[in-house]
């Protein structure tokens, strides 16, 4: 790792014994290759710190592998991993150290950097600029949401999870998940409407892309 040296994972080939059943997590290399981008992306949007996101991504896979015997396959591997990542992020953000370093860390995500990755889709320069502003606006608004609202919003719109799946990951009732999601959307909608050009230029942008 760039900041703490290479992380060594336990061997995937350690014998589990005859009585241990095989799980999809036994093949750690394959699991990491499949789900690392997804877990990292979720943690990066949640924590807004690149180093912390990578550290917790590693921790997610390490814990998942260590506890693979308890994986009953009543949900997908991705759901299980995101659940671990969410718990780790929750624990991480509760510490006072995180709150302090969040303000000063050099690895904090810059909104402009994220907005620079807006896909062009052959937009005009003006439409591209507006799209970047929209993304930056949502990114900043999401940062201002409560931790629970933010998690549920990201699970729904970044991870594209269904409401029942979000309820499984967060351990919340369906109604509570919907309630938090609607509140988060109301805040984001208010920010979106209040931003100049967002609504009135949408028609023009759509026409250009058509």
């Amino acid at each position: 790792m760039a900041f703490e040296g290479a992380q060594m994972f336990p061997s995937t080939s350690v014998s589990l014994g005859n009585e241990a059943r095989a799980t999809p997590l036994d093949d750690l290399e394959n699991v990491v290759a499949l789900y690392q981008p997804r877990v990292f992306s979720f943690l990066l949007a949640t924590l807004r710190d690149r180093d912390a996101a990578e550290t917790l991504t590693q921790e997610t896979f390490l814990r998942a592998w260590s506890a693979r015997a308890s994986f009953r396959e009543d949900c997908s591997v991705a759901t299980w991993l995101i659940r671990i990542a969410l718990n780790l992020a929750r624990d991480h953000t509760r510490t006072g150290r995180f709150r302090f370093w969040k303000r000063v860390t050099a690895s904090a995500v810059d909104v402009a950097e994220v907005a620079a990755f807006v896909p062009t889709h052959e937009r005009s320069a003006e439409a591209q600029l507006i799209a970047k502003q929209q993304v930056a606006g949502i990114w900043e608004t999401v940062a201002g949401l409560s931790a629970r609202q933010r998690s549920i919003f990201l699970l729904r719109f970044m991870e594209e999870m269904e409401i029942p799946e979000i309820a499984t990951v967060t351990g919340l009732p369906l109604g509570t998940v919907k309630s938090h999601l609607y509140r988060a959307l109301a805040i984001i909608r208010a920010q979106h409407v209040s931003s100049p050009n967002n609504i009135k230029t949408h028609g023009a942008t759509t026409k250009e892309t058509e």
């Binding site: 992380q7 093949d27 990292f40 990066l44 949007a45 995500v109 949502i138 959307l185 909608r189 028609g203």
Partner: protein
């Protein structure tokens, strides 16, 4: 008798899409959230009513489409940024997917031997120092020298004592008994006697 039209049908006939003319309010936050965040599987009558509203209210339809597009861009940009960030970082070192097969055994033996030798070398060096330290050898030599010196000193003292204890010292033996052996004494002494001088 003309049939009663709903407000939405009336608005459609009038070719207008203004909710105000329909006497309706725009989508509530809950309806908006249900349309945005809800899924088809959980869609209830409330979502159906909201979708019907979108057909006649261009403002709500445009707002909903705009927000959907913005969130879609947010997702794409965030994922692209995360992918790029992940690519720029070193890959994790994962163990090779193979069992502890025989191919690893020589490596383990080499490592074990190297560790053994590494641990043994300092012990050997320490042992060498312990067996023949410079200070110890000097002291042993000094002890042996002291013993021989003591012996020679004792012999010397014994000689001195015997000479002291003797009634006449060896060097004065000739004077003690002048008649004992005159010839010998004369031969031994270099001083001429009076008779010899006369001769």
């Amino acid at each position: 008798m003309t049939p009663q039209l709903t407000t939405e049908q009336q608005a459609a006939q009038a070719g207008t899409t203004d909710c105000a003319l329909l006497g309706e309010t725009h989508l509530t936050g809950e309806q908006f959230g249900a349309l945005m965040g809800g899924t088809t599987g959980t869609a209830g009558p409330e979502v159906a009513a909201a979708e019907a509203h979108l057909l006649v209210c261009e403002q709500c339809a445009v707002e909903l489409a705009s927000l959907r597009e913005a969130i879609s861009l947010f997702r794409e940009a965030s994922n692209a940024y995360a992918d790029e960030e992940l690519r720029s970082r070193p890959r994790w070192i994962l163990p090779a997917r193979r069992s502890y097969s025989q191919s690893l055994i020589p490596a383990y033996w080499v490592a074990a031997t190297a560790m053994f030798l590494t641990a043994l070398l300092p012990l050997q060096v320490m042992r060498r120092h312990t067996l023949a330290p410079p200070a110890a050898s000097v002291s042993s030599v000094a002890v042996s020298n002291t013993a021989s010196d003591t012996q020679s000193d004792e012999a010397l003292l014994e000689d001195v004592n015997s000479e002291i204890s003797a009634s006449v010292p060896t060097s004065m033996q000739a004077l003690a008994d002048p008649t004992a052996d005159a010839s010998t004494a004369n031969n031994e002494t270099s001083v001429p006697t009076t008779d010899q001088r006369k001769d």
